[in-house]
C-alpha cells in the first residue's frame, strides 16, 4: 500500500546527528579494516560528470575501473563507472565482459528541468547505448511545492522507460534541506519503483552526508520490514577519504545489517575516493604510509 505522502514521518535532526556521531566513534582496525577497504572499493561508482568529458577522459576512467592498481589480482574492481549518456557507448565497449556496470545520469541531469518526454527520451537513449544503470534526478521544484503525486508519477514513468536497467533516484538532498523532506522524498522514490536511492548529483553543496544517508537508510529499512524488498543506497559527492567511507559502512552494517554490505545494495558515488582506498589497502598490506605518486589517476 502506498503511504499518504502528505503525512510527514517525524525525524529529529539532532537525534540523527547524534546517532551518526556514534558511528564515527567506531574504530576499525587490522583485518576488519582491510576487509572493509576492499569492500568499499568494490562499491565505488567511478564517476565523471563534466561538460569537458571527452572520449579520452572517459576512456581513461574506464581503464582505471578495470585496473585500479596495476594488475594486482588482490585488488578488487569498482562496481561501475558513471558518465553522461553520450559517453555510454564508449564506456560499454571498453568494459564489456568485465562485470563492471555502466551507469548514466539521464533525465536532464543535474537540474531535472526538462519535459518529462525529453527526460524519458534521454533514459531510453542511454539504455539503448548500453547503460544498465540509470541515475535520474527528481523534480525538486515539484517536491518542495508539495506536488508529491507529480514527483511520484515522474519516477514511475522513468522506471518504466528504464526497462531492464536499474534505476537510481537522486533526491538532491542538499536542496531538500530538512531530514523530514529527505525521508519523504526517499519514500516517494522507493514506492514509485526506485531500485536505489541516491543522495546527490555532486553539483550542489552539501552533497552526501552521513546523517542524510542515515535518514535514507531508515526509509529503506522500513520498506524492507513492510515488504521484504531490499532497496539499494548510494551516497554521492563529498566522500573523499577511506575513513569516511568506513564510517558509512559501519552505518550500513548497524542499520541494515550484513545483507546490504555488497555492491548490489550499496554504492559510493565518488571519483577521488577510489585512490584513497587503494592507498589505505596498500598501507594495510605493506605497513607503510603511501604517496599519491604511486597511484594512477582515473
Amino acid at each position: 500500500m502506498i503511504p499518504d505522502f502528505k503525512q510527514t514521518v517525524p525525524v529529529d535532526q539532532i537525534g540523527v546527528d547524534e546517532r551518526v556521531a556514534r558511528f564515527r566513534t567506531r574504530s576499525i582496525k587490522k583485518e576488519s579494516k582491510l576487509f572493509a577497504l576492499k569492500l568499499a572499493l568494490q562499491m565505488v561508482d567511478l564517476t565523471t560528470l563534466e561538460g569537458m568529458d571527452s572520449p579520452g577522459k572517459v576512456r581513461q576512467l574506464c581503464y582505471k575501473a578495470l585496473y585500479p592498481h596495476g594488475t594486482d589480482p588482490d585488488i578488487p574492481r569498482v562496481a561501475a563507472i558513471c558518465v553522461y549518456p553520450n559517453r555510454v557507448r564508449l564506456a560499454a565497449e571498453i568494459l564489456k565482459g568485465s562485470g563492471i556496470h555502466v551507469a548514466s545520469v539521464a533525465t536532464s541531469f543535474p537540474s531535472g528541468m526538462g519535459t518529462l518526454e525529453s527526460r524519458i527520451e534521454e533514459v531510453k537513449y542511454a539504455v539503448d547505448e548500453g547503460a544498465d544503470e540509470i541515475d535520474m534526478v527528481i523534480s525538486r521544484w515539484a517536491f518542495l511545492k508539495g506536488e508529491y503525486g507529480f514527483v511520484f508519477d515522474e519516477i514511475a514513468a522513468i522506471k518504466e522507460a528504464c526497462g531492464p536497467a536499474h534505476l537510481k533516484v537522486i533526491l538532491e538532498t542538499g536542496e531538500l534541506e530538512t531530514y523530514e523532506n529527505i525521508r519523504k522524498a526517499s519514500d516517494i522514490a522507493i514506492y514509485a519503483g526506485a531500485d536505489f536511492i541516491k543522495t546527490s548529483t555532486g553539483k550542489i553543496s552539501p552533497a552526501a552526508t552521513m546523517p542524510v544517508t542515515l535518514v535514507m537508510l531508515y526509509a529503506i529499512r522500513d520498506y524492507f520490514l513492510k515488504t521484504g524488498t531490499r532497496i539499494g543506497m548510494k551516497p554521492a559527492g563529498g566522500i573523499r577519504d577511506s575513513k569516511t567511507a568506513l564510517h558509512y559502512l559501519v552505518m550500513v552494517k548497524e542499520t541494515l545489517g550484513a545483507d546490504w554490505l555488497n555492491p548490489d545494495l550499496f554504492r559510493f558515488g565518488a571519483s577521488s575516493l577510489a585512490n584513497d582506498l587503494l592507498m589505505q589497502i596498500l598501507k594495510q598490506k605493506t605497513g607503510h604510509y603511501q604517496s599519491p605518486d604511486y597511484f594512477s589517476i582515473g
Binding site: 529529529d12 566513534t25 576499525i28 583485518e31 520490514l225 545489517g257 550484513a258
Partner: protein
C-alpha cells in the same frame, strides 16, 4: 506499522560478514601506584587506621591498587586541615584568584584527559568511549564553568551578599567517579568553601589522580582533602562536628540515613539520590530517534545512572514497532572490554551490583515477566550483563518500582497522555523523565505533568555544567550545576 506487518517481516542480520577487530586503548600509558594513601593537607599521608582496601578492575577481576581506608582520626585530620585552609589562605584569597586555581585545574585535566579516561574505565568498568567522550570532557567543563563563577557570585543573588559556608563534606558514588568529584568540588571551591571528599569504595583511583593534579596545581594545602574508604568513612564525615555542609550523591537508602543523622545539627545538606525515570514515547514520536533515546537512556554507563530511563512507557499503537526496532538496535550493542574503543556497554561495577541486577532478573523469570536479552558474546572473566528488556510488567512489579541500577529496561504501554503522566508519577522518585513526541504543545503539557527535576524531551541523558540537575520527592534535595547549584554552597545575607 501494523501487527501483521511485524509478524511477517523478515529479519536483518547484524552479526554476520563483518565484525570489528578489537581496538583497545592501551593501559601501558598510565601509571597506577601499587598503594595510595590519603590526600590530606596537600600531601599523601598514611592512614592512622593502618588499613587499606583493594580496588578491582571489574572487567577482569584483577586488583588495580591498594587504597587507604580513612578512619575516624583520619577524617578528623582532614576536616581540621580543611578548616585551617578555610580560615587561612582560602577565605583570605581574592575571589578571582580562587577562580584562577579552578581554571588551572581544568587546563591540567585537559592536558591529561586521556590518562584519566583510561584509569576511569579500568577502575569503574565503563567503556572508554564514554569516559573519553563524556565523563572527562564533562569534568573539565565543570571546572571551567565554576571557575568563572568565583568572582561573580554576587551577580547570582542581586541585593544579597553571598558567603561560603565553611568546610564541605562530600560523598560520591561509583557510577561517574571523577565526574561526581567535579560536580562536588568545583562549585564548593568556586563558592569559597574547602572540601573533604570521599570517593566510592570501588572507584577511588581517578579521585586520587585528581589529588596529584591538585597538588601539582599548587592549590593551598587543605583546600581539597581526599579521603578514601567505605561506608564507615562516609559516616565519620557525616557525623563530624566540623562539617558545615554535606553533599551526597548515592542511593536514596543512604541519603535518608544521612538526613536522619544530621537531625539536631545546623549542617546544611544537598542530596542527589535514586530514580526510576519514565521514558514516555507517544505514537507521533520520531521512532528511530526515540529508539536511540531509549538505548541511551537505559544502556548508557551500563544503566548505572540515577536518572536512567529505566521505565519505558509506550503508547499502544506504536508499541510493537518500537519494541521491535529497539530489539534490533540492541543487536548492534557491543558488550565487553571497557578499554576497547568499540565497546558500547562495559562491565558491571562490582560483583555485588551484578548480583543485585541478576536478582531482579531471576525474580522476573519466576514471575510471568518476559525477559529479552541481546545475543552478544560476553567475556569470561569480569562482571557482565547483557542489555535487557523486561516485558509483561505492571506498575506493581518490583522491577517497575525499584531502582535496578543496571542495563535493564521495563516496558509498559499506555493509551492516553493522562495515563502516561499518572504512570510516570506513580513512584516515590522524581529525578528525571523523558517525552517523545513531534508535537510541541504536548511536550510542555507532559513535561509539566511529570514531577521530576530533569525532563528530556526528544532526547535523554544529556548533561551540562550550566544545566541544574537534581530531584523531586525521594530523588533528593537541592540542585547541582547551573546558577541553581550555587546556593547550596552559600549563605546569603542582606
Amino acid at each position: 506499522m501494523s501487527e501483521k506487518e511485524i509478524t511477517t517481516r523478515q529479519n536483518l542480520h547484524f552479526d554476520e560478514l563483518w565484525a570489528y577487530d578489537p581496538a583497545p586503548e592501551s593501559p601501558d600509558y598510565v601509571k597506577i601506584e601499587e598503594k595510595y594513601d590519603l590526600f590530606i593537607d596537600g600531601r599523601f599521608q598514611e592512614p592512622e587506621s593502618g588499613r587499606y582496601l583493594r580496588t578491582v578492575n571489574p572487567s577482569n577481576e584483577t586488583v588495580l591498587a591498594q587504597v587507604a581506608e580513612a578512619g575516624k582520626k583520619d577524617v578528623d585530620k582532614a576536616v581540621t586541615a580543611a578548616r585551617k585552609a578555610y580560615d587561612g589562605a582560602w577565605s583570605k584569597m581574592a575571589a578571582k584568584e580562587r577562580g584562577k586555581y579552578l581554571f588551572r585545574i581544568a587546563r591540567l585535566l585537559q592536558e591529561r584527559a586521556r590518562e584519566f579516561a583510561i584509569i576511569e574505565s579500568m577502575d569503574c568498568g565503563k567503556p572508554i568511549r564514554e569516559s573519553r567522550d563524556i565523563d572527562i570532557p564533562q569534568v573539565i567543563a565543570h571546572f571551567f564553568y565554576h571557575a568563572g563563577w568565583a568572582d561573580k557570585l554576587e551577580y547570582a543573588f542581586p541585593g544579597y551578599r553571598p558567603r561560603p559556608l565553611g568546610v564541605a563534606g562530600q560523598i560520591i558514588p561509583w557510577n561517574f567517579p571523577l565526574l561526581m568529584a567535579a560536580w562536588k568540588i568545583a562549585p564548593a571551591l568556586a563558592a569559597g568553601n574547602t572540601v573533604v571528599i570521599k570517593p566510592a569504595e570501588t572507584t577511588p583511583l581517578t579521585a586520587l589522580k585528581l589529588a596529584e593534579l591538585i597538588r601539582d596545581a599548587g592549590l593551598p594545602p587543605g583546600v581539597v582533602n581526599i579521603v578514601t574508604g567505605a561506608g564507615q568513612t562516609g559516616i565519620e564525615i557525616v557525623n563530624h562536628p566540623g562539617i558545615d555542609k554535606l553533599a551526597f550523591t548515592g542511593s536514596t537508602e543512604v541519603g535518608k540515613l544521612i538526613q536522619k543523622a544530621v537531625a539536631g545539627t545546623d549542617k546544611k545538606y544537598t542530596l542527589e539520590l535514586g530514580g526510576k525515570a519514565a521514558n514516555i514515547v507517544f505514537d507521533d514520536a520520531p521512532v528511530e530517534q526515540a529508539v536511540e533515546g531509549i538505548v541511551n537512556g537505559i544502556f548508557f554507563n551500563q544503566g548505572h545512572v540515577c536518572c536512567a530511563g529505566s521505565r519505558l512507557l509506550v503508547q499502544e499503537g506504536v508499541a510493537d514497532e518500537l519494541v521491535y526496532k529497539l530489539k534490533m538496535r540492541m543487536e548492534s550493542l557491543i558488550v565487553g572490554d571497557p578499554l576497547d574503543k568499540n565497546t558500547d556497554i562495559g562491565a558491571i561495577n562490582s560483583k555485588d551490583q551484578l548480583d543485585r541486577i541478576l536478582g531482579f532478573l531471576a525474580e522476573g523469570v519466576e514471575g510471568d515477566q518476559k525477559i529479552y536479552q541481546s545475543k552478544c558474546d560476553l567475556p569470561e572473566k569480569g562482571y557482565w550483563c547483557r542489555p535487557t528488556l523486561v516485558e509483561n510488567v505492571s506498575q506493581s512489579h518490583r522491577i517497575v518500582q525499584e531502582e535496578v541500577f543496571g542495563p535493564v529496561l521495563s516496558i509498559q504501554t499506555f493509551r492516553t497522555p493522562a495515563e502516561a503522566v499518572t504512570l510516570a508519577n506513580n513512584s516515590p522518585y522524581g529525578l528525571s523523565g523523558g517525552v517523545w513526541t513531534d508535537k510541541g504543545s504536548k511536550i510542555f503539557k507532559i513535561g509539566k505533568g511529570i514531577r521530576a527535576g530533569v525532563i528530556w524531551a526528544n532526547t535523554f541523558n544529556k548533561f551540562d555544567p550550566t544545566s541544574p540537575f537534581g530531584g523531586y520527592k525521594e530523588s533528593g534535595i537541592g540542585r547541582e550545576g547551573g546558577i541553581h547549584g550555587l546556593l547550596p554552597y552559600l549563605e546569603l545575607s542582606q
